[in-house]
């Protein structure tokens, strides 16, 4: 794996969206550009956003968790 910074990066936000920053485009399956208003975007990961593919913060209301909870989970 290269340690050189890539042109784009995706931050995997705990219990939240995927934060995408850098040089990238968001397109439909047929290659058309998805309307985009900002450089850095948050992509929905919980499935509950009303503005998909973007995040609208609903993951907080539905208590979306990215790590499976359970007895083995130390809660750290």
């Amino acid at each position: 794996m290269s340690q050189e910074p890539a042109d784009g990066s995706i931050v995997v936000c705990p219990d939240g969206p995927l934060l995408v920053r850098g040089d990238f485009e968001i397109v439909t399956p047929s290659g058309e550009a998805v309307p985009r208003q900002r450089q850095t975007v948050a992509l929905c990961r919980c499935g509950a956003s009303a503005i998909k593919p973007y995040c609208d913060g609903t993951h907080k209301l539905i208590k979306f968790r990215t790590e499976p909870a359970g007895p083995a989970d130390p809660g750290a």
Binding site: R21, R38, T40, I51
Partner: protein, 351 residues
């Protein structure tokens, strides 16, 4: 901004002084300092003291767009800076007390993982426990057209210069926290497109409701608590020692924004307003879902990682924001539930 109406002895004396030139005003400035000192001691509640909050608002305004007809050189006049400090001290003390009362038990930052993740988790937890009366639910379901206009008037005191107080913090930060704040602010300022600036989007909403969109047009109409919410940001932003507080303030502001803005937009759609009017709210649903991640982890978290001693002030900024927002909401909802206006003067007189 236009010169507002005085609200008591301190703001009256201040506005009288600002009407003149800095030279030859030493005696009047000495009198103002003594007056401000006496008034802040006897004030029962600095946060809701109209005279003190308006005086602070005008003093801070000298560092933003200025006041119409007031000489620019007043900005760094030592006499006025002394007055500002005399008023800021009890204001900050009161904010700290309010913050402690509103959130007596701040969760501990978890040890083990990265500090920045721990700080973000605490801030998200604080945002989730913000259980004051909901203005957004009322706006969404019940607010009358008149109440929508009042709501915009309260917000206009800040939103027409949205993001400016936090910008003061940029040169006071470094590394990860600085990059994070610049990234957020670039978005707040429209990413290079003036018409996409959040303040410009807000002005469009105001025009859609036939309100005056000039900055400060309604300062005379809003109560002290609305001025105090903006003064708090200026206090945090203009004092480098409070850089932790301005970072915490921005983080909690972003974290408590997406959902309410969705509801605000619904309220305006319910009254038949189109996307030109709701663009401001729609933009914030999407933008603040991005900003809250950056502000929590990289700005506030990154700052605490770099300067661990700033954690208490990050939490102070966050909890003070929650406390004052709750008080402003209480003021507005209390008036509306009693069939009254939440403004100082009725809208017709203000407009």
């Amino acid at each position: 901004m236009h010169i507002p109406e005085q609200r008591g002895p301190v703001s009256a004396a201040l506005l009288a002084i600002l009407a003149g030139q800095p030279e030859g005003n030493a005696a009047a400035l000495t009198d103002l300092l003594a007056l401000a000192s006496a008034r802040q001691t006897e004030s029962a509640d600095v946060i809701e003291d109209d005279d003190i909050q308006l005086a602070l608002f005008c003093l801070y305004e000298l560092h933003y767009g200025g006041l119409d007809g007031v000489d620019d050189s007043w900005e760094w006049n030592p006499g006025l800076i002394a007055v500002r400090r005399i008023l800021e001290q009890p204001f900050e003390k009161e904010l700290r007390r309010e913050a402690r009362t509103a959130v007596p038990e701040v969760p501990q930052v978890a040890t083990g993982g990265p500090v920045s993740d721990g700080v973000a988790n605490v801030l998200f937890a604080l945002a989730a426990t913000d259980t004051g009366p909901s203005l957004s639910k009322h706006v969404s379901k019940k607010a009358t057209l008149g109440q929508l206009r009042e709501f915009l008037i309260h917000k206009s005191v800040y939103q027409l210069k949205e993001a400016d107080p936090h910008t003061w913090a940029i040169p006071r930060l470094s590394g990860r926290a600085k990059a994070a704040l610049v990234e957020i602010q670039a978005d707040e300022y429209g990413g290079g497109r003036p018409d996409r600036m959040h303040s410009a989007l807000f002005a469009r909403t105001m025009r859609a409701l036939e309100l005056d969109d000039r900055y400060g047009a309604y300062v005379d109409a809003v109560p002290a608590i609305a001025l105090a919410s903006v003064n708090m940001m200026s206090l945090f932003g203009l004092n480098r020692r409070l850089r932790g507080a301005i970072a915490g303030h921005l983080a909690i502001y972003e974290m408590t924004s997406s959902r309410p803005n969705q509801l605000y937009g619904n309220g305006f759609r319910r009254h038949g307003f189109d996307t030109a009017a709701t663009a401001y709210f729609d933009e914030h649903v999407e933008a603040d879902a991005v900003h809250e991640q950056i502000a929590g982890r990289d700005l506030a978290g990154g700052l605490v990682e770099a300067e661990p001693g700033l954690l208490p002030d990050v939490l102070f900024g966050a909890t003070a924001a929650i406390a004052l927002d709750a008080r402003l909401t209480l003021h507005i909802m209390d008036a509306w539930e009693n069939g009254l206006t939440s403004l100082r003067t009725d809208l017709a007189a203000a407009a």
